[in-house]
């Protein structure tokens, strides 16, 4: 049986227990049609990036489904009819990911800034050798670096590094 991932967004004014009941309903539909739901995740009440049916927020739920296509179409049909469901999306996947999805990980850790800092550190590491080289032209008086800057006027991105290496070349 093919594997599916199904995400749906429920109306914000229902409670989270109602969302769970909704998920249970959908699970039942899948199981009645000979499939099974291997994992369910409730992402919580999240704010939408744009308004859907005049709503600014929605309850997100994810279902990992292993079911025949007929079961999925039946579930989607029910989702379309259901008034509390703003939107749904089902996609076929080659394999289900184990453990919590990326959404749950980012939610539980709340380490957005930490990850950003890691990214920044990674970039620093990329330009690390050049930074260590920069003290050398700093000792050299300003005109040398100014001339080098005149030689290489373009490329604002690496302009910080370019004069450093150039001035070193002219020294040698």
């Amino acid at each position: 049986m093919p594997l599916y991932e199904s995400v749906y967004i429920a109306r914000p004014d229902i409670s989270s227990t109602q969302v769970e009941a909704l998920t249970a309903d959908m699970t039942k539909i899948v199981e009645d049609n000979g499939g099974k739901v291997t994992k369910e995740e409730y992402w919580g009440l999240k704010s939408l990036a744009y308004r859907i049916k005049k709503n600014r927020k929605g309850h997100y739920s994810l279902l990992n489904i292993d079911a025949p296509p007929a079961a999925l179409t039946e579930m989607e049909r029910n989702m379309r009819i259901h008034e509390d469901i703003l939107r749904y999306m089902s996609i076929r996947v080659d394999e289900h990911e184990e453990g919590p999805s990326a959404m749950m990980q980012s939610k539980s850790s709340r380490d957005d800034r930490d990850r950003d800092r890691d990214r920044g550190r990674g970039r620093d590491d990329d330009s690390g050798p050049k930074n260590t080289a920069s003290p050398v032209p700093a000792a050299v008086p300003a005109p040398a670096s100014a001339a080098a800057a005149a030689e290489v006027p373009a490329e604002p991105v690496i302009s910080d590094d370019a004069p450093a290496s150039d001035s070193k070349d002219t020294e040698e």
Partner: protein, 75 residues
């Protein structure tokens, strides 16, 4: 002597190689790095994503947009 003009060191694709992040429509943090301030998908010639991964990335971003995890446009 001096540095070759218009020289750019080769960039490598952020999604290939070991422990590269997996492209997933649910990982909004990752996808946001590849969209502009206005929510457009940034071309691969700027982000250095390989052609194959760029195709994957664009479908992931479009899926995330459909689920209102990412905006279609920001004014």
């Amino acid at each position: 002597m001096s540095r070759r003009p218009f020289f750019r060191r080769p960039k490598s694709c952020p999604f290939s190689g070991d422990n590269a992040p997996k492209i997933d429509y649910k990982n909004v943090k990752l996808l946001q790095r590849f969209t502009s301030e206005r929510g457009k998908i940034v071309p691969s010639r700027i982000t250095a994503v390989s052609a194959k991964k760029q195709r994957e990335l664009s479908t992931a971003i479009k899926r995330a947009r459909n689920l209102a995890l990412m905006p279609f446009l920001i004014n």
